[in-house]
Symmetry: C2
């Protein structure tokens, strides 16, 4: 199996110079994209997005093609290992979702791609929490969730979104600092270089660093930004979240 599918396609005279976005790819907001798991065919397209970060929501470590991609393009990978919630008794661990949402709310991490496996459940739940923070009514949030989940829509995800506590001071603070109520507001924040967006403490220079170092910073900074000491259970959760 050739590693670079786009190149292989060109060699066969197929899909010449055509872009192949990942399954369930879509734009969520300015500088925020969502999708299913990218395969090697999708990389030429993804490289056009100028990504600064990826929020990766599956427990497994990245395969070679993704590791090479993030290293080559100096993309920060924020790895939050979420198990699927197929089992209705299972719920997403709150601290992991919190960490992922804080990374997502920080405009300095954009352009950013959120992906899990199918781009339906874990990604859909995280985007749903973003919409709650953006003060969307539940009807359009569920409409959007189901548009991507299709016949696989899960009530557990929709319950999670509805029960999500938007009054948590960490998120209220993040929204206030980043002013990320909507796309237009994000633009204006990005234009102002001096905007007080210092929620997730990380060095601006990390783009040039090693990928492994960057990953660790991602998970660490999101824990720090929750403003909590790591109890035993917290540590376990975050250990799971790191590759």
């Amino acid at each position: 199996m050739p590693k670079d599918w786009a190149l292989a396609g060109q060699q066969r005279g197929l899909a010449e110079e055509l872009f192949i976005p990942p399954t369930n790819f879509s734009m969520v907001d300015t500088g925020v994209y969502r999708s299913g798991y990218p395969n090697a065919r999708n990389l030429p397209f993804l490289s056009t997005l100028g990504l600064r970060s990826i929020i990766y929501l599956c427990p497994d470590p990245y395969p070679d093609h993704m590791t090479e991609f993030v290293e080559k393009h100096q993309i920060k990978k924020f790895h939050f290992g979420l198990e699927t919630n197929k089992d209705p008794a299972h719920d997403y661990p709150e601290e992991i979702m919190k960490g992922a949402l804080l990374v997502l709310l920080d405009v300095r991490n954009r352009p950013l791609l959120i992906h899990c496996n199918k781009g339906k459940h874990r990604t859909g739940a995280l985007v749903g929490c973003l919409r709650r923070m953006q003060r969307w009514m539940l009807t359009p949030i569920f409409d959007e969730y189901r548009r991507f989940a299709g016949s696989k829509a899960r009530l557990t995800d929709q319950q999670y979104i509805e029960l999500f506590d938007t009054s948590d001071p960490v998120f209220v603070d993040a929204m206030a600092r980043n002013r990320v109520g909507n796309a237009a507001q994000i633009d204006s924040v990005q234009e102002k270089s001096g905007a007080p967006v210092d929620l997730v403490s990380r060095k601006e220079e990390t783009r040039g660093g090693e990928a492994s170092k960057v990953e660790e910073q991602g998970s660490t900074s999101s824990r720090q930004s929750l403003g909590e000491d790591s109890s035993d259970s917290d540590t376990e959760v975050h250990r799971q979240a790191m590759t």
Copy 2:
């Protein structure tokens, strides 16, 4: 029936300060949104997008709430009156779709909302043509089309998208001038104020003009940009496209 539903909701203590995006609302690309027909409840949300233009794809004139909205926010309405293609023998008139796509490709018209009635068929076909111009493979284009059309997906729309001639010099020229291959490229074009984006000839000052004047400019300029004299049939099509 109260005219301002969002206000009515607040008065009843419902949906207080919550945003209600239109049916099937989504971001398509940087500065490009799509949706079904906005109702009065959706206007507080739409006003957060900072829209510069709307591409409206139904034959009917705008109702009062939309006319007032575009006037209040000095939004240019580009009205292309497309009939639905429920009848498989019916096809979208090529010149109307051409005009709409040229408006869509011009980054100076963004932020921009495309809408028809349900945000499924006419909007889906136009977005599909945009994706063809962006060199997407057909699989992800149809995936996106069906995500919004759901069980109402029409093969006629998908045929239209597949048969769409991306080699038309008008569009090739538009893409070359605007460099709108993808979101990142659009950003870079917008940053360069001196970029040679003069495809649709209109005054930059139109934002301050009257809405009715703006509408006429929209339709006229898209005809001009096709580089054709208006034959009788063309005139008929474009008359239909104007309110």
